[in-house]
Every structure is written in structure tokens, then in C-alpha cells.
Symmetry: C2
Subunit: 540 residues, 2 copies
Amino acid sequence: MMNTPLILTSFIQRAERYFPNKMIISRTHDKIHRLTYREYIKRTRKLASALTSLGMKEGDKIGTFAWNHHRHLEAYFAVPCSGAVLHMINIRLSPEHIAYVINHAEDKLLLVDEDLVPLIEQIQDRLSTVEAYIIMTDKEELPKTKLHPAYSYEELLKKGDETYAFRDDLDEETPAGMCYTSATTGNPKGVVYSHRGIYLHSMALGLADSVALTEKDVVMPVVPMFHANAWGLPFASVWFGATQVFPGPQMTPAIIAQMIQDEKVTMTAGVPTIWLALLQTLEKEKYDISSLRGIVCGGSAAPIGVIKAFEEKYKVPFIHGYGMTETSPIVTLSTITSEMEQVKGEDRFRLLSMQGLVVPGLEIKVVNEQGEVPWDGKTMGDLIVRGPWIANEYYKDERTEEAFRDGWLYTGDIATINEYGYIKITDRTKDLIKSGGEWISSVDLENALMSHEAVYEAAVIAVPHEKWQERPLACVVLKDEYKSTITKEDLLQYLQPQFTKWWLPDDIIFIDEIPKTSVGKLLKRALREQYQDYYYSVSE
Amino acid sequence: MMNTPLILTSFIQRAERYFPNKMIISRTHDKIHRLTYREYIKRTRKLASALTSLGMKEGDKIGTFAWNHHRHLEAYFAVPCSGAVLHMINIRLSPEHIAYVINHAEDKLLLVDEDLVPLIEQIQDRLSTVEAYIIMTDKEELPKTKLHPAYSYEELLKKGDETYAFRDDLDEETPAGMCYTSATTGNPKGVVYSHRGIYLHSMALGLADSVALTEKDVVMPVVPMFHANAWGLPFASVWFGATQVFPGPQMTPAIIAQMIQDEKVTMTAGVPTIWLALLQTLEKEKYDISSLRGIVCGGSAAPIGVIKAFEEKYKVPFIHGYGMTETSPIVTLSTITSEMEQVKGEDRFRLLSMQGLVVPGLEIKVVNEQGEVPWDGKTMGDLIVRGPWIANEYYKDERTEEAFRDGWLYTGDIATINEYGYIKITDRTKDLIKSGGEWISSVDLENALMSHEAVYEAAVIAVPHEKWQERPLACVVLKDEYKSTITKEDLLQYLQPQFTKWWLPDDIIFIDEIPKTSVGKLLKRALREQYQDYYYSVSE
């Protein structure tokens, strides 16, 4: 067979050749941009030539610090298709961590959204490798900034060469992108994506048994483009020639609903928090979201009530999945196989609320000290993954050793696996509650709490306990309209029939908000720290 | 990223793990076998161990000489997943060519269907590398045969080890399979498929924008398993865990219709001749083929009438494609993109009758002396292809040089390309008619003739002509019921409004049958030889 390399250049070349009239719709601060792929690719070639003029060379790291919009998508291809590496910086990290990841990756150029410039200005002095800043803005002239040297994105593009030739001679193992993932403690850990990895992951997204992404789709990634490549959707969408919609910096539920309605979005993706908020907006205001053929949801477990509301009330299939920065990210999806088609009603929703079946191309196992756990849907174990779009290390980081063992990635997630091979994440290794030597799943308790009509969000944490070592404590945010009417006894009574007695939280406290990580996951560590003395103090 | 090799072992391991209860239905001479994947994979492991006992080693070529059935599928994985190479021998080659391909590939073992044993017996003396013959039969004892040494397939399996471990450490470039393709003159040419090539081709078959093969499908390859890996369907089907139906040695239209009805086949694939014959059967007898969600058709151009009949009368989508042994084989498919969705009626059928759009992963061009031809749907040129599942040579064959140039495969087909990037095969390079220095497409004339209700099949050939160098001659097979009523004037009159005058055949002759190649393509060479003096003789 020909030794054609699996590289991203082939994606953009295909789009340019076959889908020049398809659209990219991009919402920025000021307006909605509508570009044809023809225009988009011209601009992408110009960007590549401009970055090259500024010194970008093969293997250089180029950072982006930006929301979801067409300029970010231009960088998505301009950088890797020139042989350089796109570092998508998580804008929600702390200033210390932002400085750390830029220095650790050794970013040479930074592309920064205008409204995010202040965040970089305050750490500029600490950046040791950045040679220039490019401000992404709709304005043609350079906005006022302390960043130096700074260039206007659009001015650079004006001087760029629209005939710039992308590299089609790259080795498929060439690094194409990188993202850093937050660690429980210490600095974020870097993950490098190769052209080959992104190529195969994109193919997986197009499989009929997976997301079935197609040219006919109108794809809107709500998941940020700095979060695991926006789950790979922008790469695959360019390859297949799908219409793309980028919601920009103000990702409010109302704007998301409006864009789904206006642009007839067929496929969107994001974390559960987004879909919970969207449901609330849909309750209050009327939007037509019937164009959606699927919502991909991952990042953390979606409450069964959210899945049900989309499936039953809005007739929108809800594709629940599992992945992480280290896995490009798609690992599993809750696709209903032919053998499961007879499962109906509540049981079906229970299946959909699991993380599902591994996509073709990857291998997963759930293991404990005895090896693979039985497929009983009960026994918990460590979820491990391997395959061609799974990282094999953290970039220049000694924490590699802990997570990558014997050719497998240890995800740090605890899962069960049922008779169909469907996995269910029951906890993060670090969030498990170990009561009297037995494991309690905080996620199961949270999901049960969140299925109560009064509960907006819930986090269940392990709190030290004299007798049982650890006991569960439930932290609950009530919906506004229930704040004065619901008591903890109501909720405990609601949980009682669903769990064995010793699983039930010893206490339920009501709080106003659950702290979240930069990518919208529950930040249980903060709660644990806050409440570590709780069961001692209450028992006093 | 992890350097996980793209190998077939991962396909069968996935099926074993997640789809042990899915079915493989296989029709042999004597009965219909129903195996679960669990049983199938056990048998496949046993076969691999049995072949290893008989001396199969890494890199050895193992030949199959067989119809479409479960034993052939067992060989499809047992051989490559042990590191050896599966040589799928075309049973329809001449005895000389069969002997040639076995010797040229250096097959060490041959797996032969019982009813095909006589074909091998007559050439046994000429086979220089074969060390043993394995007879594939439902009978447990060895049938009487002159082949020596000969073993019974089922007896070998009985002794096989069902825990045999497939190789998961193979390099992805390892040869997995090979097929020979007939040449216009001379011996067949060998094509070697790597694990990587078959893996990526399988992914392409699963893409929503391609065949969208899924676990939910019931796949029946009517295309022989010795013809370009049955278009890769058995490999991809095992990977995705699809139900598979193998029609066995008696592939009559009635049996095909019956199996579609009985097994609720959703996806089938084969050459136009098959579908033409199936339509005739459906006219005469009632079968329910409504389970079909698609018919993949390739090998040669499908007449527009056949496409129309399936789409309009039977509501079965007809997926017209293009490929060849050298291309694994999928290159293009007539998938209707979103931009084409407004095309309706006859124009839509004209689109569907084209070979379509290149699938993601490959590149095609239509070139003439001036470079790429304009996308006008008119200008003809050579179709060239490249990509990771395209052969880069003929196996140990000096004809490599002619077909593989500058990194591209020269397909030997002449095509046009329209505004959407849709290709249409207008001829084989060698079948083009050059009249007065201008090209006439024999395929266009054939399709027009075949759209006439009285015409069963048609071949248009170039016949030497004193004045114009070459002129078209149409050879037509009429449907039985029209044999006495239709004249050549009727047909010429029918063609007249559709073509410029000089394209019209100078004569139309009625024949009883059109000679075909071993894979069902029109054998125009034979007609050309027969009629080479026709325009001299008629003008005398």
C-alpha cells in the first residue's frame, strides 16, 4: 500500500477542493461572521504565511488564548499544517498556571483574543519564550495593549500570502497540537497530539457507530476549543466539509439556543452544566431546537433527568460519552446497540446515562487487584485505556510514570462494566468514598440527588469520620423556587429506597453554588477542604 | 500518542469481547449454518492453530479457493492475525492463470471448496510451492480427491486449539492479504494489502459519509470474497460486530432475494449484473426486500434504469461506487451531499448513476496532457488515485512501472468530473473509441441503450474504420419478450436525441450474450476481436 501519511493537511485540502461553498458561521464580540470554506481556507493560508514571517518554524509551539470562533479555527489548521504545534491554552486556569503552561510548552508566539488580553498582560513579565503577541479582534487596527511586540491579526492577514503551500510531506507522528490538563495538585500536565492521532480520532467521529459526523451536519462545538481540541469536532468537521457554527465568547444558554434555532444546528457538544442550563432556558423562553439530531455530552456524568428531558420532551438524542484530555478525547459513547434495542423506558435511560461502549479503534478495561472485573455492572475498578489516539506520556513531566503503565493509560476514573460491555464511571479515584473498607460511589449519590425535581446541582464528598474513616456528605444547590420548601429530610427520604443504608449520606447541607474546575467539572477538592472537619464538628 | 499498530487482530478481539452473540449466517451446498461470533471466533482460533501445525509461518502465503461462506471468513482472520498472508484466488480465472497466480504468490497451503476441487486437481502437477490442500466441506471426513496431501477442514478444526493467541505485535505494514487482478493481456497482476490498508479502508466503510456500515447492519456480500476482499465488507463487519450473511456457492437471484427476505439483510453489495438479474426475479416472484437500507454497486457502471427501479419501485437506496482490486477497493461513492439535495427527478438519477465523490482519506484527479481537466462534466481524462489503502505496486511484476507513476495509481479508467467533484467513468482507457481524432464514450452509449425498456445488456466497441480510424458498433442483447419486435432502427431512433450525430453507432447488432470477465465485467476485448473487420465487411 502507498505510505500516504495520515496528516491534517489532507483534511483542509479535501475541504478546499470539494466544499468551498459550505459555511463557517462565527460569533465574535461584535458580530456574526459568515465565511465560506473558500474564504476560510484562504485566510488560513494567509495566517500560516504571516506566522512564518514572524519566525514560526517546524516544531515550534504556537499558543492560542481564545474562545470558539473562526480565527481560532484558522489557527487550528494554519499551525499544524505548517509543521508547527498548536498549543490551545485553557483561559480558565489561574494566572500562575497560565504562565506555567506557556513557559513549559515554550510557546514562541501567542494568539490572544482581545477581551482576554488583560489576563496575559498581567503575566507577561513571567513569560520567557514568547517572542510576539497577535491580538485576535474584529478591528483592523491594533487595540491598545501593554503586550509587546504585539500585532493585529487582521493586519497580519492582509499581508499574508493566500497561496501559501501547506506541508504535505510531514511524518504522521509529527506533533500537531497540545493541551494541558489540570492536576489534582501541582501544575497542569501537557498532552501532545500527533497528526496521526487526530486523523484517526476524526475518522472515529465519522463512524456511523459513533457520532456519525457527516458533511450534512451543522456542527456547533460549545465545548471550548481549548478543551481537548473541542473534542476533535473542528478537525473532523473541516475534513468532512460540515457546516460549522462557533458561538464565540458569550456562551450563554440563550445565545446557544438562539444559534441552534437560527443556524439549524444538527450536532452540538459540551459538558452537562451547559445542557442543564439550556433546559432551564428552554423552560422559560421558546426556541426551536428541532434541527438537532444529537447532543454529545461528556466531561462529567450527565444527570439522567437531563438526558430524559432532551430525549422525551425535545426529541433530541442525547449521546453521552466519556473521554479526557489524554484521550483526544472520545473513548466511549452510549450508543444503543442492536442487542439493547429491546431495552425500554427507565432502563433505557439508565443505559443512556452510562458512559457506554468503547468506540472502534480503542481498547478499555476495568481492572482491580484480581485483574479485569466481572461484567456485572457492580464491581468497581480502575478504568484503563489504550489505542492510537491515546497519549503515551505527559509532556516533559515525571508524572508520566504514574499514569502510563504497561502500555495503558490509567485514567484515574473508577468504573463498572455491565453485561453489554457498557461502562459507567462511578467516581474519580480521588473522589471515591471508602466507608469501613467498602467503596461508595459519590457519582451515584449525586445522580440520584439530581434526579429530584428540587435539586439544581449536587456534589457528594468523602469527609473524614472517626469510626468509618470516611462518610459521604452531600452538598446540594436547590432550584430557586424550592429554596424555602425542601428540607434535608425530604431528600434523605427520597434517597432511602434507592440505596443500601450505609451508602446514604450522613448529612445533607444546602449551599449556593458548587465550585467548578476551569472546564466546568465539580471541584470536589475545594469542598473536601472546606468540610474536612464536618463530621467531627457536628458530632461534638 | 501511543504507537498502537493498526492491525486486524484488534478487529476480531473487539468482536469477541463485545459482540459474542451476534450472528454469522452462512449458506453452503448442504445447509444454512448459524454461528454466533463466539463460535465463529473459536473456530477461527482453531483454524489458525491448525494451519500453524501444518507449517504456516509469518509471511507465508495461504491460498483460498472458495465461495462466500463462514469458512472463508474464518480464513480471512485466521491467516493474517497469525502474521501470514491470505491469498484469495479468483476461481473464475482460466486454469493457466490459476496455476500462475498460485505459483507466483508462492502459496504454501491451499484451502479449497469441495465443489471446486476438480479445478485444482487438473493443475495440481503444475503447482510448485503448495505443500498441502485443505478441503472445505460440511462433511467431517475427507472427500475423495486426487489432491495430495489433503486434509478435511473440519477434522483439522477438531484438533485445533481454541485458545490460540492471535498476534497483536504485528507491524501495521505487515502484508495481510492479496488478490490478483486480470490484465488485458498477459498474466494476472498481484496486489498486496497491508493490515494498515485494510484497517483504514474498514474505517472508511464505517463513515456516515460513505457506506455507514454499523453494528446494526445485516451485511450480505454478494461480491465474491475472492474479488478485492469482497470489497472489504467482511473485515469491517467483524470489527463493527455487524450480522453477516454469506450466500454461498449458488448465488442465483432467487437465493439472493430469499436470503434478503429471510435474514432481513440491510446492506448488500455486488456488480450491476447481479442487481439487473435480481430486478428481473423480483418482477416474476414476490420477495420482501424492504429490510435493505442500501445496495452498494460497483465493478462497472450500473445502468440508470437499475438505479431507478431500486430507488423508486423498491425504495432501496442505491449506492453506486467506484473501485478496483488495486484500491482495496472503495474510491468513490455516489453519496448525495447537502449541496446536491436540491437536485430532483431525472437529474438526481443522473447524479446517482455517476461514480460520485471520493471518500475521506483518498485523493483523486482526472488528468490529461494539460494537467487536471476542468470540472465541467465533459472533458475526459485519466483517473488517478492515491491514499493509504491504494496499492503502490504489482507484486513482483514489471508492469508496476506503467500503472504507478509519481506516487499515483493510474487506474486505466477515463473519467469526467462535474462541478460538485463527482466523477463519472466514461470508459476504460483501452475501450475508448477514437473517431476522427475525437473521443466517444462507449459507456455513455451503453447506458443510453440499457435505459431502453427492450434492452437487457449492451456493449459498444470501437471497430476499425477506413475513414474515421474507429467507429462505434453496438452489440445488444434484447429481453426475451422483445426479441421479435424491436429493430435496430428503433434503437438508433431512441439514441438520436441524446447524442451528437457523430457519436451514434454506425450499426447495432443483436447477440445472445455479452462475454464477461471472471468478475462479471463486459469482456469487450472478445467482441472487438470478433468484429474487427465488421465495418470493412459491411461496406463491401
